[in-house]
Each structure stands twice: as structure tokens, then as C-alpha cells.
Amino acid sequence: MKLTGLTAAIALCAGAAIANPISPSEIEFDEYGAVQASLSGAPGDAERGAEIMVTRSKGNCVACHAITALNDAPFHGEVGPTLDGIAGYRSAEELRGIVANAKMTFDGSVMPAFYKTSGFVRPGDGYTGKAAKEEDLTPILTAQEIEDVVAFLLTLKDG
């Protein structure tokens, strides 16, 4: 109990202290795939998070997940589970880890890693089909966008 409180406190301090976002190569996952500190150092904006989740070129989370709160966006997929009520059983830290790189939580998951820039096979330059140099790759979502998505997920309390 004490330990968790302490970790949370450290995380909070770390979050406040870091001016620059944590880069994809610096991000640290715990043994369950969770990420303690805010990637951007700033709190997330849930409304922007909702927007990112339905935007094809951004999160496009509804491609695979049904989310009742986002029903204004048409066509929710069914490759992944519904995210209704996710905040009831997942913490901010767990959600941050899942959105940043779900494979650290779910081994071999089909869910793409949204905050990763290396270790890909034939990475492309966006959706052009052309090659990208690994050093030019940016994560699919920025540090702040990850935080925004996590903030929105934390509003999904009833399911």
C-alpha cells in the first residue's frame, strides 16, 4: 500500500519535473505493461482524446473497438473488445501502457503500438506504400495525444 502511494507520488513529481516529453525510446513499461508517468508531463484533454480515437489517420480506435460514447462516428469494428466501462477496471497507468504499446500488456496483440518508432519490418512513409527511414519515423500518436486518449478512456466508467 505504502509502496504504491510512493510510486504514485514519484510519478507525479516526475511528471511535473519533465518539461520535454518522454520519447518512444525512453518509455519504461513495468512487468505488466503499465507506464507510470505522463508521457508529455501535462494532463490529457478527454475531448481531444475522443476526437483522436475516431480519426482514421490518428488513433482510429473505433476501427477495432465499439465504444458507445463515440456512437456519433459511424462503423465501430469488432476486432477488439468493447471499451465501455474500461475505467472501471483499468488504471491510468495501465491504459497509458496499453495505448503506447499494447504488446507489452497482451503478448502478440494485433493492436498496433501507438508510441513506438523502431523494430518494424518494412516501415512505410505513412500510408503511401513508400519506404520510410527508421530514423525519420514518428510515433502514430504524440506524447500529448496518448495522454488525451488516456484521459478520454478514464471517462468510460459505465459499461
Binding site: T68, G124, I140
Partner: protein, 283 residues
């Protein structure tokens, strides 16, 4: 159509239970022109490890799209077949020959589509139907090759495919074909691009599921070339592969590349037993 309407319905009703949609393939029967009965579902070939039943992509399309394939007067792909028939009879190239000069009518091509890609011993290469067509154009006719995934190529493939319509796909994967098949299989299971998705992630693990508005099929190629309502033309299998790889945010391979030739052999073999459908109709 039923499925889309249901998605919309599910989306408007608040979902209380965990989402398990009765996705999957429908049970419709395909009979072309009221006479040719097609095998669109059958037991998977022995070499397939994770799938027990193979299914045509037709089963995953809306009723309206499905209907377009049932009658040649409705099938927009047949217009391209007619164009290819003209090309078949047209003299081209330095040898002043047409396909018809050596092959007589296109009926002589019965059974050909079903067994391609096929090992060509003389040339010592794995040949797709497109490669064979271009080989005849270049070396038998002295004519210019068709661009690999062009409309004239897709049309000629359609003319040749339709001669085998209803026959079971039966590509050989042993002997000289084995290393190509292995290479194709490797590609099928490789997770590419920034999304790190393999063909299998979508077409083996998730067929029957919706991914956004798209109802995922098994990604079979027994229906190629395919008339797509989306781009209103005939599309080659390699054109489709390219689009699917690109959608994983990956660098694609080129149509006609050795990688896609191997992949075509492998994907075709996953459809061994399904009827040749080309030209089929998809959205």
C-alpha cells in the same frame, strides 16, 4: 447488407452485453447464370494449420454486391472480358500473330486459371498467369508486355479465368514449387509496417469480423481478377496485395515482384478446392 444494417442498429442501441455480433460468412448459395453451381465453402486443404473451412470473399459482401456476380449481364467484369476477347483476336507485334493464331478460341484455356501460379520447367521459374501472358506477348508475338497490374492484363486474365469458372482451384505446392510456397507462407505471417499486421492477423485471425466498415474475408484469390465497385475497374491479385500491405503503414512490394509471386502461390493454395470465380465482384 444485413450485416451493415445490423451494425447501424447496434450502434444506435446502447450496447449492454459484450459485443458479439453474428458476423462471419453468410449461407447464401452461388449459382452463376442460373446454371453453374459454385463451391464457395469447403474443407480447408490439409496444409492449412489454423483454418478448417475455406470461404470465398463473396460470402462477406452485401446482398446487392453478391447479386451482381450471379448473372453475366449484371457483372461489370464481363465488359472487360469482351474487350479481352477483341485483344485475343487482334494481331500485334513483329511476328504478326494474335493469341488466336496459336491458341484458337479462348475455350482452349479451360482449366488453366485453376492451376496457376505454376512451375515452368523450361524457363526454370514460378509463373503467374500474368507472367505467362506476357511471355507469349514478348516471345511468341514480339509484342510489348502489358504492365503487370494494368487493365488490359487484368482483362486478359479475366477472359482466361472465365473459361475455368466453377472448376476447383488446384495449385501444386510440392516439388519445384515448395520453396516458393514456403517463401509465400513466410510473407503471409510476417507482421509488416508501423501497424505490425500480417495477412494472417486480418484474414485468418479475424475473418468474419468488421474492421471499421469493412467486413473481413479470408482474403482468398479464387475470385481474381476482381471488379471493384470502389474503383470501377478490374483489379489484379497483386494490386490487392499491394493495397493491403500499404494499409499496414508498410513499404509495399511491386506487382510482379518475386515476393508477390511467391505470396500469390501461397494465397492461391489456401483456396485449393474453391471454385474459380473470376471475374468476381466486390465493393
Amino acid at each position: 447488407m444485413k450485416m451493415k444494417a445490423m451494425t447501424a442498429l447496434c450502434a444506435t442501441l446502447a450496447l449492454s452485453a459484450p459485443l458479439v455480433m453474428a458476423g462471419g460468412a453468410d449461407d447464401d448459395k452461388m449459382v452463376i447464370n442460373g446454371e453453374t453451381e459454385m463451391v464457395t465453402k469447403t474443407t480447408a486443404p490439409a496444409h492449412m494449420e489454423n483454418v478448417s473451412e475455406i470461404m470465398s470473399g463473396w460470402h462477406f459482401r452485401s446482398d446487392e454486391t453478391q447479386a451482381l456476380q450471379l448473372d453475366d449481364f449484371d457483372n461489370p467484369g464481363m465488359i472487360f472480358v469482351d474487350q479481352a476477347l477483341d485483344a485475343w483476336n487482334t494481331v500485334e507485334g513483329s511476328a504478326e500473330k494474335a493469341c488466336a493464331s496459336c491458341h484458337e478460341g479462348p475455350e482452349s484455356m479451360k482449366g488453366v486459371r485453376a492451376v496457376y501460379p505454376k512451375w515452368n520447367a523450361d524457363a526454370g521459374e514460378m509463373r503467374t498467369l500474368a507472367m505467362q501472358i506476357n511471355d507469349c506477348r514478348e516471345n511468341q508475338m514480339g509484342a510489348e508486355k502489358y504492365k503487370y497490374d494494368s487493365v488490359p492484363m487484368a482483362s486478359m486474365e479475366a477472359l482466361i479465368s472465365v473459361q475455368s469458372r466453377g472448376m476447383p482451384v488446384n495449385v501444386a505446392i510440392d516439388g519445384e514449387a515448395a520453396p516458393y510456397w514456403e517463401a509465400g507462407k513466410e510473407l503471409y505471417y510476417t507482421r509488416t509496417g508501423q501497424l505490425e499486421l500480417s495477412c494472417a492477423n486480418c484474414h485468418e485471425d479475424n475473418y468474419g469480423n468488421y474492421i471499421r466498415a469493412d467486413h473481413l474475408s479470408q482474403g482468398q484469390i479464387n475470385g481474381f481478377p476482381v471488379y471493384r465497385l470502389k474503383n470501377a475497374k478490374l483489379n489484379t491479385a497483386h494490386g490487392r496485395f499491394k493495397g493491403c500491405v500499404r494499409d499496414t503503414r508498410a513499404e509495399t512490394y511491386s506487382p510482379g515482384s518475386p515476393e508477390f509471386v511467391a505470396l500469390e502461390l501461397y494465397v492461391a493454395s489456401r483456396g485449393n478446392g474453391l471454385s474459380v470465380e473470376g471475374p468476381s465482384v466486390r465493393n
